[in-house]
Symmetry: C3
Subunit: 671 residues, 3 copies
């Protein structure tokens, strides 16, 4: 039998956050009826209910929630039950100000928005765990509850705190890491600028300073802040697991490429990887971002099915301008997540709020009710997803991995850099985009994991790499995996120190080169690179590369101060090949480069000869393979898939070529 993400829900999950406390109970019955009509089979309940469950420090009010869960159960709707700790009630902040996060200038955040707690507050932890105890005690056995949902979007809005208590916690974290203050001094390089600490008491979070704070201090504070939130999550999990069995998974919802939590570390503690996706509708490449984020989620779960825990059927409310979703986009992008491994599609939220900060965030059930395009789209999707049951648990196979490490991301984007215009997301997109457009299935991987199962491993800009990371790269390369390192990779060690001797130390023989000096380009500056007889354009970044024995020049700068010097270098070793790109190629150049590299690496796309703008992915399980054809263009497309297939949704049968309408999707079963 296929692997089910939620054993208690043997269907493709469809639903959303359900916040009935916003409405009188008289509408709950209508909610149930409409949920059934739309095909909803899972709702997340209680995420923001703390104040309604514990109205004062010493009073509790669970009866309303009892009724909600019973009602769901009576209607056959399963519940992902939140621990309700995401946002503490006003009384907690008023009576215990230490629970409120403090910014780098010492300002204590007010309640009145949401999720304003200090991750290191012991009082917050005490009260939140007490609430979880109550919840578990009451609902551990509730038949509707098939999953527990801890917190909400950890790090959204508050991802760090500079209070005294947080400073203590940071010091404790550092003591665990470094043991003695001399080691910290050495790893942080405090001999410079007279930052040397004589005593742990002197070590602080990077509060407001007059100039760049120590970068290793900043980096460790980012790590600590992610860990501090993770500790809260794990503490809740521990309370839940004391009463709730393994057949009920526990989750919390991620936010795609969220810059403030190390999701690799978090993922180890999460049963069902869950994600929230709110694409920027002003970005014409939202579908690229859609695929990339989904691939990250699948990779965080080591290939397991994951859940799109939140999306909006149409507009959201927090960007500068929040358009409605374009025609077909809601359905196509939802199915795209399934195409990349999602076994559940949920929304925030069921019924659009009529008050509060998110009333203009679209809900599954709009203000105007069921005679609306949104409701019709939601219901259509709900019905369609029921038909995807055969693919539950199906997995993908990727021959290519992109390396992503939050520590490196954090370090790359600190202040005091050669160029503050480099960002991790831009570097990832530079390499992911052409691979996706060429139809390759791509995983994300951490540089410290075993990489040898991939044919090609690419580090778009892995500024920081640990000793273990170096070992992993060397081992993969030695074992036959091809390696690509983009600009400014391998520059520093785990504490952001330059290794003795400089760039690419430990990997110089793999790439046959190293960089003598960075040559970032200023805004508007472009230079030219010759690859054979082809001219490519680079911007943002170039490097003065030095060759080592055995290397080959793949591209040469033909303009600027570096004219005549290598821009791209490769080295072929016994079992594999490695490339170093010391520049930011433009789109055409990186696309043709990667095409050649993929071919040389023996990596194959899901399907050859796919029309531009059509995305193809494959998932497989014991029921066979499932081919997703997503037509992101505005015209009908025909795709030759070379075998017989049946569309799971429309039940149409095809032999060979398959047509997909403009903006439409097919999920083909290949028996």
């Amino acid at each position: 039998m296929n692997e089910l993400a939620i054993p208690g829900l043997p269907e493709y999950a469809f639903g959303g956050d359900y916040n009935p406390e916003q409405w009188p109970e008289s509408v709950w019955q209508e909610d149930m009826a409409l949920m059934r009509e739309a095909g909803v089979n899972l709702v997340t309940v209680g995420v923001f209910s703390w104040a309604k469950l514990q109205p004062t420090e010493n009073t509790w009010s669970f009866e309303w929630l009892d009724r909600v869960l019973d009602l769901c159960h009576a209607n056959g709707i399963k519940v992902d039950l939140a621990t309700a700790t995401a946002s503490p009630p006003p009384w907690l902040g008023l009576k215990y100000p230490s629970t409120l996060a403090v910014d780098e200038t010492g300002v204590r955040m007010a309640w009145g928005a949401r999720q304003h707690f200090s991750p290191s507050s012991s009082v917050f932890k005490k009260f939140s765990l007490a609430l979880v105890e109550k919840m578990v005690e009451r609902y551990a056995e509730h038949p509707a509850v098939v999953m527990w949902h801890v917190g909400n979007e950890y790090g959204a809005h508050t991802h760090r705190c500079f209070s005294e208590e947080s400073a203590d916690a940071f010091r404790a974290w550092l003591i665990t890491k470094y043991g003695d203050v001399d080691t910290l001094n050495e790893r942080w390089g405090t001999a410079f600028w007279s930052q040397w600490y004589s005593n742990w008491d002197e070590v602080m979070p990077p509060r407001k300073t007059v100039y760049f704070p120590n970068p290793a201090q900043q980096l460790d504070f980012k790590r600590f802040s992610s860990d501090a939130m993770l500790e809260l999550y794990k503490a809740e999990v521990e309370v839940i697991r004391q009463r709730v069995g393994r057949q009920i998974p526990i989750t919390t919802n991620f936010m795609r490429f969220f810059p403030h939590a190390d999701y690799w570390k978090w993922s180890e503690n999460i049963d069902v990887i869950s994600d929230d996706w709110y694409p920027d509708l002003a970005d014409p490449e939202s579908h690229i971002e859609g695929a990339m984020g989904a691939d990250l989620m699948r990779s965080l779960g080591a290939g397991r099915p994951w859940f799109l825990m939140e999306q909006a059927p149409s507009a959201i409310n927090w960007r500068e301008v929040n358009p409605a979703k374009p025609k077909n986009a809601y359905r196509r992008w939802s199915l795209q997540q399934a195409a990349h491994g999602a076994d559940g599609i949920l929304h925030f939220q069921w019924r659009a709020s009529v008050r509060g900060a998110e009333k203009w965030h679209s809900g599954m059930l709009p203000h105007s009710g069921t005679d609306t395009a949104v409701w019709r789209e939601v219901s259509r999707l709900g019905q369609d997803l029921k038909k995807l049951k055969p693919l539950l648990g199906a997995k993908s196979d990727s021959q290519i991995a992109l390396l992503l490490d939050w520590s490196s991301w954090w370090a790359l984007e600190l202040d005091s850099r050669p160029s503050t215009r480099l960002t991790q997301m831009e570097a990832l997109l530079d390499y992911y985009r052409p691979l996706a457009q060429a139809g390759y299935s791509v995983d994300f991987a951490h540089p410290e994991q075993d990489l040898s199962r991939y044919k090609l491993v690419i580090a778009p800009s892995l500024y920081l790499i640990s000793d273990l990371g170096i070992e992993r790269i060397r081992a993969a390369s030695a074992g036959g995996t091809n390696i690509v390192f983009g600009k400014f990779s391998g520059a520093v060690d785990a504490e952001e120190g330059v290794r003795v001797g400089g760039h690419l130390m430990g990997l110089r023989d793999v790439f046959g080169c190293y960089t003598e000096e960075w040559h970032p380009l200023v805004a508007g500056q472009t230079e030219e690179v010759l690859i054979g007889s082809n001219r490519g354009e680079v911007s943002g970044w170039t490097e003065h590369i030095r060759l080592l024995p055995g290397s080959a020049i793949e591209g040469t700068f033909s303009t600027g101060d570096l004219a005549g010097l290598p821009a791209i270098v490769s080295k072929t070793s016994e079992k594999s090949k490695a490339w170093y790109l010391g520049c930011t190629p433009n789109r055409d150049m990186i696309a043709s480069l990667l095409e050649a590299i993929c071919i040389q690496s023996g990596a194959a796309p899901v399907l050859y000869s796919v029309p531009q703008g059509v995305e193809v992915t494959k998932r497989s399980n014991e029921n066979g393979s499932f081919l997703f054809l997503l037509n992101h263009t505005g015209v009908e497309q025909s795709i030759e898939i070379g075998q017989a297939s049946v569309d799971l949704i429309s039940a149409e049968s095809f032999v060979g070529a398959v047509t997909v309408g403009a903006g439409e999707v097919r999920v083909l079963h290949l028996p």
Copy 2:
């Protein structure tokens, strides 16, 4: 006899703020002589004199002010006497820090600029009222004093305070409004995001939070802040009225479309509506803004004559760049205010300061003295205004009203909106501009007032509308008034909640439509609307409109996701017609639309066939009618007025056509 704004001053008022404490007494005599030369008959004295009147907590120094008032009296110059409470002295802040405003991060503002008091400080109130007591005691009977001037530009710089004392006052205001905390919870929608309050003590001003604070909390805090300032004003008025009779009016100076005080509510307490106008000289449409602001002032006073209390004869000092006023602009724009109902033209300030933050703000008497263009312009205007005495008290007649409600303005521009690029001012200008250019006289009106006397009522973007507002619109429509609602109007109730069922609830039958979903456009995006065979362009905002029985489509989207759907809808009922515009039309489109709507509404411009760039207004009293012809163009213009007239200023007589020189103005008496 005509209504006089100031009974004690039966002339057209001309003058400015007079701050003699900046100079040695030796120059006061020169001031008097030059004032007489320039035609000054009214000066505002004492606005910033607190520190000089009460040098320490327990010492008072009024003798210098006695001499100033006596000198004015001796020279026949009337005085608008300030209560001097606008800016407290340094000793007050030092000894009583609670008088200083606190920002949302808890920072207490320093003295050393101006007007830094906390509106809710009880200590500030005590000291300011004590000063007013002293002032009134001493000057209630002074023969020069014809008006009292409370405070100054309430809300300029400090329009709110987040101190503990302000938090208490905010809670008291909320208790008065809502009675019990459960009602507040319901109206603010605190069930969402765990914001539910168990107790009044937990309710706070919207201090610094990590994400959007509750929007109803923000909205009520804006209302409270306006009211808190108004309470200070009213408290001073009460002290004055204990000694000063009704024949001496009391005023305070507004700042046109000032976003931080609800001027409708304030106006009820002000005898002579007064205003400060500092046009942005980089804006080529300053004269549109000039007319619009003046119309607001006239409307705030329900048609009564009002005063331009402050303007600069030339440059100011607080914008990024502060040019000198263009040729003729000072005179033309001054007379424009008279054209729109002003019976007094005053300035800040009489003599340009030589020290302090406003020394580069032009004065009536420049640093370089009387051999200056500014002085000559000022004197010319002073002489001209004397000739306007016959029109004192004359009123205008408007058949069209634009709806403006500060609550709606505040709500529209809160965070967490479908589009934060929508602003109230832009929406007002979108509709006011073409009406002004077509020569219509326009009032501003509050949606909760009786609107039935207008032929056409337009809500450019009335996002929030109360139940009473809905009643007023329905009543006007039923009585024969045509109604136009622009985009995103009628979306929420008085506490910014979406009404059950959604948009335009309570008004759907009036307009024959409602909006199913907002479709804001991103920056740079435009779409097309077909009106008959004409193509119009829209940007910024579109809506997915749903038709109801009896409606007619006036315009249809022809591009984008909404192509084929209605953009503009009308409904004709028994006595009137109503239009709903679900988009932001560009200038040409809105101009031709409004032209058609005005004609259908039976509204007439002041004069037909007026050359472009010439503004015409009419005021009437028992002396007859007065036609203002303002030539905003750079060439002489000829206007056919169709009857005999006499220019009040030049004394020239005309029969039919009248010429107006480039940049010049005529005030024609039509006997």
Copy 3:
């Protein structure tokens, strides 16, 4: 014998900051060997060593520094010994928070970056002087030490503090300046806006206010802040001088046109003027800025040789983008500093850091070691500079001076101005650029110094001028010096008050004109000026100028509201001529204007007929004259110098014409 900047170092100084505490002692020997290889003869030691010298309040650790100094001595490398007070250790901030600077909102700065001390902290002063005592006690007689280096870049990052202690110090400074609070009230103009102080206690630093703080308060706070830092410097000097003789100079390093310290006042206390220069490599005119800053340094030292104390051989790390230095730029710009009077070229820092915020700031010895372009360039320069020994102490002769006064700069750029788009640096560059490009040697001068030795004195925008400044200008003009005043000059007195009667009071007869009103132009606005039959363009600023008897119109506005009025006025008096330019001319216009003015003034460039892009300077001493030819272009250039010469570096001899390779430099000895 020539004047030596450092008597103990009779060579051209070459070296940099040496921070050996960042490395294990094992690398120190390598440092010494490589320093000798590169020609290093002077290193600055100890700048950031406080935490390593005094690890806790009561422990000291000098042994490592002993070894460093001894090692330098043993290797023949001289030491510029820092007092190590630039950046206090963490323990000081933790135990004595009063040592930490406080910003205008009351936030106390954290340690963890650098130089975070409050300049007015008595505790900081006590501890820093105690350290200096220890240093002097130990190293006063050390044979390697040839100069003492106090602090570091005073004002970098922390140039002011708003703490209570700083407020006390500010008041004490004001009491010294004004004597009684009434005088302060008069000079600050506190009668306006009710700012009048009854008592010194009420006077504060300009902390966060709701609107513009009093400008004279702001100006005095800037003066006080510069003086507060200078007091710290002088206190250290006093301690050093108690043990160290005059033959050992004392210095601190400036930062070119640093906006937060009055370098004229500082310079009086500094034996060797030292400077740090980090050009913006995105600016194509870095070499203009390079020359201008060097001329300022030479002028601050009254023509004495000065030291480039810090520069980077290639990239830095603190701008948004930090490119590598362009080909040849490091060498050419280094020699350019010598060309303008530098007798030492040093760097920050010797060995590039591998940790901390400046690891990406290039060092003389790069991460990649000696097989690098940077190392080869550094070594080449080190060898070349040895050959410059004959010109040590050589001086320049300038016939033209640009006036620069920090008080005027500060006042010009305060808030509440006619235009906040005016900046002092832009005004200086407007006039310096064409003079430099035409080959003139230019001094900077303070308006209160004797100006009579110059043929031409130019005030590009001397907004504030004191009574003494007026006297100096009048005296110079009367004595035969020509004077040019640019826009918005002579507007206010020393406390930023407009003089009675207005603009140019005290100098109206010199210029034959004054300005009636400022007419700043808005962004994008340009107007035209006719000079004879030539059309010039102006932007940013124009003025309505009034003529006085004896003046001549040199240029006339031909567009805009000022069309027909004078833009440039001159007056010829018995011995000299003066010009007033009431506008911001564009580059062509100011270049041709200044060319004509220089000719009329009898000023001569260093050399006539120099190709564009070639810079020529001359320094002379008893060994003869030295002509620097700097080719800033990309092609070889030939320059006719009209006499025989020998290139000091290449030893080539020339008769007449001399060629200089692209980007190269010659230093010609004219015996």
